[in-house]
Symmetry: C2
């Protein structure tokens, strides 16, 4: 049936789904269409019409300036630079950070052809240049692309007189040596610190 194939095609190309789970989802939607489909459509419409990017940090928002940037109780002197909104969500879930963010929208990548002007780097420089920022935490992922992007950002930012930091690499809490990849082990050993004299 064309109707089922069309919807399956769209769903199967969403992240973490394939043709078989897509069929199962379509069937579930059909079985529960009375309450599910109208609800689904109205939520999709809300996303389409109400969600935009924050003018300052490029976080998702339903107003010009997102809740985080507009929150006077957060520390506006620190900006944490992340690749994507999912990284911002992960840090917010941890409740370990009270500063602002800057969402780059990806990483530099020669292979995928992502150049500095494809990322929100200029607007980060502008935020720094306009003053008031004392620290930039570069929290790109610990991948080759993330590190390349981090190096590029440091190059662009270092002549402003502000602190530039990155989160520590090491053994994840609860992690066992036997299950760690070599890269993490090397990073953890290189970053070892004195237990007695701190």
């Amino acid at each position: 049936l064309q109707e089922i194939d069309n919807l399956s095609n769209i769903i199967s190309r969403l992240p973490s789904l394939g043709p078989r789970s897509a069929k199962r989802i379509v069937l579930h939607l059909i079985k529960n269409r009375e309450y599910l489909i109208d609800n689904f459509i109205s939520c999709l419409n809300d996303i389409k019409h109400n969600i935009r990017y924050c003018d300052s940090c490029h976080n998702l928002s339903n107003i010009e300036i997102c809740n985080i940037c507009a929150n006077a109780r957060r520390d506006h002197k620190i900006i944490c630079v992340v690749e994507d909104v999912t990284d911002l969500w992960a840090i917010e879930r941890s409740k370990s950070y009270n500063g602002l963010y800057h969402v780059l929208g990806g990483t530099l990548s020669a292979i995928s052809g992502v150049a500095p002007e494809d990322l929100k780097i200029n607007s980060l420089i502008k935020r720094i240049a306009s003053g008031g920022v004392e620290e930039i935490i570069i929290a790109t992922n610990a991948t080759i692309e993330g590190k390349t992007t981090s190096h590029y950002l440091v190059d662009q930012i270092k002549h402003y007189n502000i602190k530039i930091s990155q989160p520590a690499y090491g053994i994840p809490i609860g992690g066992e040596f036997d299950y760690l990849d070599d890269g993490t082990l090397i990073a953890a050993l290189n970053a070892r610190h004195d237990l007695v004299n701190g």
Copy 2:
């Protein structure tokens, strides 16, 4: 953001998805909203307005009688009874069957409170009683509920003078003894047949 939470909630309750993959999917929809969301909504609307159940076999259809039931080149003397449309799809994918189907819409289950009148059993009996059917293949799943349903169906059908069969149980093609569950092994050994004298 309420808009994102609402859509995530709906998506995370679909089969084979959870809260994290739902967030990833919502983000993907937002990033590609230009072409994706309108298309998605229109496909959902098509499903809602055009998809119905076949009046004869309860397969999904966009007309009163589904393509399979309406196909004169299929064998209308054999009906294969399946639990769900996914089972029908699996058998159709195998291209090993050319008869008709009957989709029960589930299995009998004391625990979930599914009684015979909740399944499309009456309409199966009516199809048999109206004549022309020579064989019923009961292809419910090899689970306790599937077998219970199969026994019940045999009881209901056996006084009609037609053949009632079920697909063979045994070792899956490519299967290794060491990895088989005991139930399959027992079924395969009990159904052993003579290699020399067939």
